[in-house]
């Protein structure tokens, strides 16, 4: 009997596919998320839009909060650690969270190195804005990728950009011959073995979800049609006027992402979505998608 293998780490991500992972900050929200049909919840202190508003240093959630959420729901519970903060990850592993998100939404703890994720039995999901970043994270042991988008904005434009970038870069690799892949690997700053695997298989070696700025059922279906295998929704649900109804609608839109009739039905009468931010107004220096190396 072997535990903590890459097969069981990536296997859980396979089971989450076609689902919605929702950010929650307490047991009550976790219950609403589970009732809405979330396939997992992400336990955190504050949702990204509040982190953005509050400023300062954003850290791992209080273990008490994570335990409270674990005791409330039966679906997988994920939690965020700061980039490079392997001790936060050790604590989250001790708490037996089901997945750790080494997340740019929190303030990075190391500006050169990410966590060596091979050292852990618990699987990791990491953000990426392009193929090179995704493959670097996988080489460090990530068992799942999510495109970053721009968290806490309610604006899907960056999520679209990152998903399109990754799929387009994969298509380019698939069209290259073996000799060209070495140069591609150098340019992507990614291990040649992973680059060769992607070229051969035409996909990432692990499950790829979309995240960052999704706020409506249409946003979720858009990302699914663009090739996401599932979605993370952060502030988009619990910063809206009716989280239970919006959560359920986003779950249904993610399942029926190709069915216009159902998408029209579930998009109807959802009350106010979260207020959105124009990316240009945020300013380049405040974009969190560039955290990660």
């Amino acid at each position: 009997m072997k535990i903590g293998t890459m097969t069981v780490k990536t296997g859980l991500a396979e089971m989450l596919k076609g689902g919605v992972i929702m950010d929650v900050t307490n047991a009550e929200q976790a219950k609403i998320a589970e009732e809405a049909g979330a396939c997992a919840v992400m336990a955190l202190e504050r949702v990204p839009s509040d982190i953005r508003a509050a400023g300062g240093v954003a850290r791992m959630a209080d273990p008490e909060k994570i335990r409270e959420i674990q005791e409330t729901v039966s679906i997988p519970v994920m939690a965020k650690a700061r980039i490079g903060h392997f001790v936060e990850a050790q604590i989250l592993e001790a708490l037996e969270v089901d997945y750790i998100d080494e997340s740019e939404v929190l303030t990075p703890a190391d500006e050169s190195n990410h966590i060596n994720k091979w050292n852990f039995k618990v699987p990791f999901v990491c953000g990426a804005i392009n193929l090179g970043e995704a493959l670097r994270r996988i080489s460090e042991g990530a068992a799942m990728i999510r495109t970053k988008g721009e968290a806490g904005t309610g604006n899907v434009v960056e999520a679209v950009r990152h998903m399109r970038t990754i799929t387009s870069e994969i298509r380019q690799l698939a069209g290259m011959d073996g000799d060209e892949l070495f140069k591609a690997a150098k340019e992507l700053r990614a291990p040649i073995e992973l680059v060769q695997w992607v070229a051969q298989n035409g996909k990432l070696p692990v499950v790829n979800f979309s995240a960052g700025g999704l706020a409506t059922p249409a946003d979720a279906a858009l990302m699914m049609q663009l090739g996401a295998e599932g979605v993370f929704v952060g502030s988009g649900i619990f910063k809206s006027a009716d989280p239970a109804a919006r959560g359920k609608a986003i779950v249904e839109a993610t399942t029926h992402f190709n069915d216009q009739q159902i998408l029209a039905k579930v998009s109807t009468g959802l009350k106010e979505a979260m207020a959105g931010l124009d990316i240009k107004e945020i300013g380049e220096e405040n974009l969190i998608q560039y955290r990660g190396w």
Binding site: M1, I3, V8, E14, G18, I75, D98, T255
Partner: protein, 222 residues
């Protein structure tokens, strides 16, 4: 909507539906195609029409159950199963087929006379791989991949236990229903999918002999 009992007397390739609401449905589709049948993703009632069997994949059983309620799939699947349709459930699919889940009141199909404990082996850090002896498959042990897996806590007299891990039943068969707590769809080993497809040929005789398909009707949760 009716189950076509005579389909296998024709030369048409059987079509197996894969419930595609959430989870590892593509992997099951691939395994079924490799095993020689046509696979069809099922998200709506109309897509159940004309299938010879249904696979309920791994995923989150609460999510799958809620979507089955919202899209009115529970009762049609129960009716088709009662009429002899084959059903294969893995992990969350096993949970969905159970008559009862311990300490939970989630929506279930309730077709199989088993009581199930969810996440029985523990959280993700306890997920594991282990070779499994499955006598019904003969030969080599089956590569068992257990991910936040359930086990069968107790089973009725009609249920045949096909495999155990550390004393807990993790694979079983009852009439036209097959379940595993682990994930054959994540392996290259097709033997369990083949066993399921063999039931397609074998089970029909039982129906024609007039044996009643076992259809447990839990108090309708929908």
């Amino acid at each position: 909507m009716s189950y076509n009992l005579f389909v296998r007397q024709s030369s048409r390739k059987p079509t197996i539906g894969v419930l595609a609401l959430q989870g590892a449905f593509r992997e099951h589709g691939r395994a079924l195609v490799k095993a020689g049948v046509t696979a069809r993703q099922v998200r709506r009632r109309s897509e159940l029409e004309g299938i010879d069997g249904l696979v309920i994949p791994g995923g989150e059983s609460t999510t799958i159950g809620k979507l089955m309620v919202s899209y009115h799939l529970l009762q049609p699947v129960r009716e088709l199963a009662a009429a002899g349709m084959l059903v294969f459930g893995t992990c969350a699919g096993l949970v969905m087929l159970a008559r009862e889940v311990i300490e939970d009141d989630q929506p279930l199909l309730g077709l199989m006379d088993i009581k199930v404990r969810r996440n029985a082996f523990g959280r993700q850090v306890k997920s594991f791989e282990a070779p499994l002896e499955v006598p019904a498959l003969g030969g080599e042990p089956f590569p068992g991949i257990f991910i936040r897996a359930p086990w069968i806590e107790s089973a009725g007299p009609m249920v045949e236990i096909l495999a155990k891990f550390e004393g807990h039943p993790v694979a079983a068969r009852q009439d036209r229903l097959l379940v595993t707590a682990f994930h054959p769809e994540l392996t290259d080993d097709l033997r369990l999918h083949q066993l399921f497809l063999e039931m397609l040929a074998g089970g029909e005789i039982k129906i024609l002999e007039g044996q009643k398909a076992t259809g447990f009707q839990k108090k309708a949760p929908s």
